[in-house]
Amino acid sequence: MSEVHKVVGTETEFGITIRNHPDFNPVVASSLVINSYAGTSTRIQWSYEEESPGRDARGFGYEPAPTAEFETGLVNVVLTNGARLYVDHAHPEYSSPECYDALEAALYDKAGELVLERASKAASRVLLEGQRLYIHKNNSDGKGNSYGAHENYLVDRRLPFGELVRHLIPFFASRQIYTGSGKVGSENGRPAVDYQITQRADFFEEEVGLETTLKRPIVNTRDEPHADPSLYRRLHVIIGDSNLSETQTFLKVGATALVLSAIEVGGLGEPVDLAHPVESIWRVSHDPTLRSTLELDDGTHASALELQWHYLDWVSKYAEVHGVSDVERLVLDTWEGILTDLERDPASTADRLDWTAKLDLLDRYRERDGLAWAAPKLRLLDLQYHDVDRTRGLYHRLVANGRMKRLFTDAEIEKAAIAPPERTRAYFRGSCVDRYGDAIVAANWDSLIFDVGEEALKRVPMMEPLRGGKDRVADLLERSPTPADLVRALGGEDGRAGTETDPS
């Protein structure tokens, strides 16, 4: 089996609240935020008929698809950078465009924060005096409610899902030491703790499953490839935190993609099975000292750091044999640097990881103000770390003071909020929205539907995530001043309903 190029992307559900709004409704507020960002640009419907969230990767067939909440799908914007911005589960959600590698995925994830910051500012203009809107890139309200940060990876359909699961459970449990964004306290009935590494760990209750909102599983089986299902699976990873740190999103996505590539070529050794997977998730998160160990199936014990060194070792060997790109080399170097520093002194990573940066800040406040862990001020610091407003957000204050390392400039992030990635089909989607937005009636990850003024709508499928990039379609777009020209050039000229053309 040869590995499939790891097209990647992230999805973020943001926390939302309005201060001094007695009738605050998160669905209405989220809709306001998204509509404000969209302004007067064309609304593009998201075509749901292509999605099948009830399909299960284990091959058990269908479970009933979750009933769409009344608001879902009503507010939807497809951005010129190829991303989707919409209301999901009473939260504003940004789904990044398909990215070519982890560095690009981290960049477009940050672009999503900028989009939400701008949207929030636009929406705030219609609020009454004294009311203030807040958008947080976090995953928990500290009261037992969690909302997601998901990652997506294109993997080879031929890879047996069971094999994937055995490797991923210990990997996901241990990678929390560099994927966590930090949280004061615990939730969901887990043991009390002052501070823990992740926002999400308390909410995982199953090993493998289809759910994403209840009884969340460590490995999610949603099988909705948004691509040719005979070739690809889209691994939908729900066990991660939203990260503010650029390094952290880069490492989280990069390390996971490399592990998946290595699994595809049989490059990992025998899986290290955890004796108690679900318990291991919160045990790792509840130990900021990184000293506790997890029981393995064979009765031995290993720390999260040891498990991660194991995976890094495996992946480094894979890299030696198969070769890696410059970006993947940077992932390996970053991975090694973070593990080395976490082992030496977790606090030494406070310039690169959210959970250690936040802990450092909380410790300094505890010292200066003599605060107990239960102090509301510490909870506020925890929350405000995640505010996407660059004046208020404490992550952004750390950046402004030169205390967090960055991978991108502001100018790069601003560009990514507008322009699509150039090496995936997101380029075609984003460019079409930019050029022919008025003629696009519906969009999805794997198709665009045009109304070019003829009897039938024209559907342009995009089943191959790596096709539709700049090198393949820039000339075509240049030669097509109108959407009708584009559809004609793609070969869908006969006007029949359901006419299919392909930008590749």
Binding site: G142, K143, Y147, G148, T212, I238, R368, L381, L383, L394
Partner: protein, 64 residues
Amino acid sequence: MAEQERKQTRRDDSGREVEEDQHAATEVGEELTEKIDDLLDEIDSVLEENAEEFVKNYVQKGGQ
């Protein structure tokens, strides 16, 4: 404290005498503490007022 007393002498791995300027080290330490104090002051100026009420009212609907 006299300038002379701030200097301590120790031997490095090769046995040479190394003079450490405690004065300089203290200054760096003070500068760092000052910077942290400035950072906390800056954060104080942007922190939401009435922390208890804000945190108490921050309730989200569960999502994915």
